[in-house]
Symmetry: C2
Subunit: 368 residues, 2 copies
């Protein structure tokens, strides 16, 4: 096959499958979706940096949704930041969506802080702390709703992007992947370069104890793993992957949170393998404090990572250059949206084009 | 202009504008939306036949939504019927959507009985009885949500279909159009051939009294008219018309319920005129007990009706032949969906094709 990857993209994992899927959708048209949720896990001090304070982590998903739908936040002032003022990756997602003109749908899988823009409702409530061992109500219903949505969104599209904004989500991801036995140690990432690995590992151990689950017990029951120690975003997105891949390929946009979703989707419906790529960022793949490539290898050899080679080192903005020091790295489907934008343009859109878009959006939002 | 209308369609009103819009979207691609809501007005005995009993009228909108999303009802057994077993017009909508393959989105503007399929949520509650004179909470917020959705759905489409399922909606439509002074007498339709005109006129008089509004008082304030005596479907759909017509033409699918929505949309944003057609059925335009053509003339000369020449007189099913005797006539965007299907096919899809689709769907649903 003569498909040539542009400089803007890299592949980790099964290159043949990646190129096969990419060449099939190259120049095609997709729809971007982002599933938001709250889990009270994010308010445990030290767990999540996706918000300036533990309380503000609950505002990050709805605020991200508002930015994607109407270009600004409504449920809070300013934009979601990590401590230190580092801006939400929604800035990159917005740039990719503006350049491509892709349709956008937000799915509210279960929020405590409601977004002030229209969202798909799937009947989900916000997630409880994983320390309860009983985190998500009715994951089966949420999965089924996801299947229905995946089928609906696939109509007249060449591919679908599935992504998330759910603060605290790497901790729930670790917990679900441990319960499923996908990984045996803490390989998940953090939006902080100081990944609080020990804290997360300890909390996940306590959560599994509270649920009465030993690592690996729930290898064949991902929805039970999610019910015990997951978050509401997971079953909806796993269902969307299953529903959409009945007819079109899916770009799963995100970091190790979405690896857990992929693990659940593959366990629920193995036929999604071969029709799914994991779209992410260079920052994520190169992260020294996590191992998304290793995690994906544990799930299946055949869902490759395709990453976008964004580089903020030359940015005039401190908040963006921080991405190069290990902050943020992924979220709000920024890698998947960038990949989709590049795919739709048949590779013509470059990382420089995307960076220019980010600068323009960031300047607008911050009033520079 | 050489645009020739196929036999499947007819025009009432400004033919030049109708042909201009149709020729512009002929062979193009659209998205179908249906906005559902409950108003307690439908449970006033005698008001609505859109359900076998007054209580069941509350189940009709969510059940219609379920049929469009997953092909069957989930919140109730069987399908919504009028007394006598006459099936919901969603059967025709489903046929048109299957033939065209059009994407579908349901918007829940405010339901008491929640649909068991994913829907767009706009933060709306169900409507109170118009006899309260205070029927809809926050119509401004619902209108704004509609604008956001209309803009979002227009992306990458050549046109958008906006429609409704809201039992009791012709009574709220009459009330809003009286409050706005659009009509001075009861010209709205009913899903029964025995249109309970006196009852509706009396209730609307009582509702306007309760709101302290005289006919015509709210000509320039459609959202206040809706707050007093409307239903939640109206502001959302009026906003969607305004938001979508910024970039694409809109087919407003439905009967006199949607005439009231058009009246509100035109008062809120006159720029939608010239980019909007009212898509309906031959049954509606020919109804002896209502006057949709007259109503539209009172709103504007320049939003033409385009109707689909469906004829169920040769159907083997009693429930469908009843449409020829003045039952149902419109609803769930059946006329708009049929028009959209014909438009997308450049006129190749005929009324016979649609009838065949209805028969197949009806037989499946009823287990014939």
């Amino acid at each position: 096959m003569s498909f040539e990857l542009p400089e803007s993209l890299g592949i980790a994992g099964n290159e043949g499958i990646a190129k096969d899927i990419l060449s099939g959708i190259w120049g095609g048209r997709g729809t971007f979706t982002c599933t938001i949720a709250n889990t009270m896990t994010s308010t445990i001090p030290g767990v999540s940096d996706a918000g300036d304070t533990p309380e503000l982590t609950l505002y990050t998903p709805p605020a991200d949704a508002e930015m994607l739908m109407v270009g600004k936040t409504l449920c809070m002032d300013g934009i979601p930041i990590n401590p230190g003022g580092i801006p939400t990756p929604a800035t990159l997602t917005m740039a990719a969506l503006r350049i491509s003109g892709m349709p956008v749908h937000i799915i509210n899988a279960g929020c405590k802080v409601m977004p002030k823009v229209p969202c798909y409702d799937v009947g989900g409530g916000f997630g409880r702390s994983i320390l309860t061992g009983d985190s998500v109500t009715d994951p089966e219903g949420l999965y089924e709703a996801g299947v229905t949505l995946g089928r609906a969104f696939a109509r007249r599209n060449d591919f679908l992007v599935v992504s998330e904004s759910c603060a605290g989500g790497t901790t729930t991801a670790l917990a679900v992947m441990m319960a499923m036995g996908v990984i045996k140690e803490n390989m998940v990432s953090s939006s902080s370069p100081n990944n609080p690995k020990e804290l997360k590992t300890r909390l996940v151990g306590e959560a599994l104890d509270a649920a009465g689950v030993s690592p690996g017990d729930l290898a064949d029951d991902p929805l039970e793993a999610i019910r015990c120690v997951g978050d509401p975003m997971m079953p909806v997105n796993a269902g969307m992957i299953a529903g959409a891949t009945e007819t079109v390929p899916v770009i799963v946009g995100g970091g190790t949170q979405m690896s857990a979703v992929i693990a659940a989707a593959v366990a629920m419906d193995p036929s999604c393998v071969g029709k799914t790529v994991h779209g992410t960022t260079r920052w994520m793949v190169n992260d020294k404090n996590s191992d998304i490539v290793g995690i994906m290898r544990h799930i299946t050899e055949d869902i490759p990572l395709v990453y976008v080679n964004m580089d903020y080192s030359g940015s005039p903005h401190d908040g963006l250059r921080a991405y190069e020091r290990g902050y943020i790295k992924e979220g709000v489907g920024c890698g998947g949206a960038s990949l989709a934008c590049i795919v739709e343009s048949s590779g013509k859109v470059t990382c420089d084009d995307l960076l220019e878009g980010v600068h323009s959006i960031y300047a607008d939002l911050m009033g520079f």
